[in-house]
Amino acid sequence: MYRYDEFDHKLVAERVAQFRRQVSRRLLGELTEDQFRPLRLMNGLYLQLHAYMLRVNVPYGTLASKQMRKFAHVARTYDRGFGHFTTRQNIQYNWIKLEQTADILAALAEVEVTAIQSSGNCVRNITSDQYAGRARDEIADPRMYCELLRQYSFLHPEFSYLPRKFKIAVTGSPNDRAAVAVHDIGMRMHLSDVGEPGFEVLVGGGLGRTPYIAHTIRKWVAPEHILSYVEAILRVYNIHGRRDNIHKARIKIIVNQMGIDKYRALVDEEWERIKDGPLEIPQEEIDRIHAYFAPPPYEQLEDAAASLDELRSRDSSFDRWMKSNVVAHKVRGYAIVNLSLKAPGKPPGDISADVMDAVADLADRYSFGEIRVSHRQNLVLVDVRQNDLHALWKELQALELATPNIGTITDIICCPGLDYCGLANARSIPVAQDIARHFIDIDEAADIGQFTINISGCMNACGHHHVGHIGILGVDKRGKEFFQLTLGGSSDQNASLGERLGPGLPQHEVPTAIAAIVAAYKELRADGERFLDTYRRVGIEPFKEAVYGPEAKKAVA
């Protein structure tokens, strides 16, 4: 993992001191709320329905155990004993007092964690593949480039007042687990003919009320030039992005209004000017950061498949967990283990302070002290010895972190919704809980197979509903909460936006509708087809029929 040096520490300490002054100026009335808002947002602080919410960065989803323990400490000392992991790999606290914020940020700074630019119209936390550096399908490790981008973006003097927020995601694997095509900038790593890594850069993706899949703006950018290339994209956006209407201010709007070719021409023109300037990353800096991401001291182990097979054949619940929550590691004898934060009945992504501490201990004992956060709101231990899997599974069960549902229909992405958020139209968490209860039978969920349900409480789409195989969007119709379903969305390397199924449904009809869709899928699927494959083959009509047709009406009545 990256470790701060003297410069990084100093910058964060100075930022905390600056924010302490800004808060006191606000409390003294020297700053109006209008003037203070962007300052607090750029330090992660939102004003929500009931209290302030603090969003803390988990850079590219990577955490050390001591950082997780500090999260637990903050949850206990300054919040109500829990936190919420988000689709941007961050953690949010929902019951924060303005007066205590600078103290919280100082506490977090002790373990090299910040809330810098976790909100605001600036470059947000850089996100990545939760398996980065460990996945067997990876082409190159994206983490060091994420770190370079993190430093580059922090307190950028030119780009702290962009037209709107700006999100960057990077994947080093062709199997995109970082949803790069729905980011303002997405980066996919490729290898050159001589095996050197480089980046395909995408621009203008995003969700919200006007969803777009990103365009490829450049097929190849060499690693030492990524900062100048990103700067060129940002400069064109800062100047040309729309500032007349907040709903049209994201880069996706200007890219699609202008057309990707024109946008590319402007970026290329700017890039030519700055590419060989001081933003070119010196090899020494690449080497310095690269060293932090050296592999941990793995043991020479044999593959433990045979002994695991025996345990699996004796215990079907261990077998199910192995199938859904454990992923192949690139080092022999090791495995990647997903910790599900989607136990039935729990708000997706929520975690108590005690469980945070327990996860930190497990990371120390089983996984070189490192924890990852996925954009699907789960946690990951990325370096577990295969021989330890059974023992770890037992411990995870006791913590309710072993629900064998990763990638299945109950592994639901869900925003905080109207229970917390001032923007929401509807309560999304109860819908997630209802669906999880409906599909509580693990065998059935396993039979339904790979499935994503994403729920947003409003069209701002924090729950990524457009790119769920089934998306659920909370809407307000004359003061009542309704839920609109979309089908066929995906955020992977073949990203697509979901298509609207039909009129919104009241909350109690949502699980029934999902069940009808699932039943239709089971009926229609060919061998080995996921729901998404079947949907893409047969189209939306059969599912419309299943939910809104005469038979469905009878069932509901």
Partner: protein, 170 residues
Amino acid sequence: MALIRGNELVADEFAHVADGAEIPAHGPVLVGLEQWQAGRETLLARGAPVGIRLRSDQSPELVASDLPRLALVALEFPKFRDGRAYSYARILRERYGYKGEIRAVGDVLMEQLLFMVRTGFDAFEIESDDPLGQFRTAIGDFTVWYQPTADGRKTAVQLRHPRSRRPSSS
């Protein structure tokens, strides 16, 4: 309204000419883009320094060839949240090598001053009870820089690798 230049409070020698208003007979003037474009030769013939005021939707690219003859470019922040002028200042300094004064005007607030300094502004019109105190506090907030800009401050990367072959800020 106070004017800060070179870390000090100074008197403003430029007469601010409102759009369409008459140009005074003598002394330095600050005019809008339209007035500059309409009366460039007359303005220069006066023999006094001329400054130009650009709104946030007017890029300095529009006056690139005039820059050697302009003593001052005032970039407007219509609202402090409109961040276009940060890019304009860098374009003036880094693309065009402009050496004259770049002045921040409009909604210029303490908490944004350091970003302005870093992007190339060197003069600031501030509405405040204690403009100089605020300015000095604000620009002292940080001593570490991650981004190279034309202000010449050494970045963390440059300090980490003092003998790197890469050029420092231009």
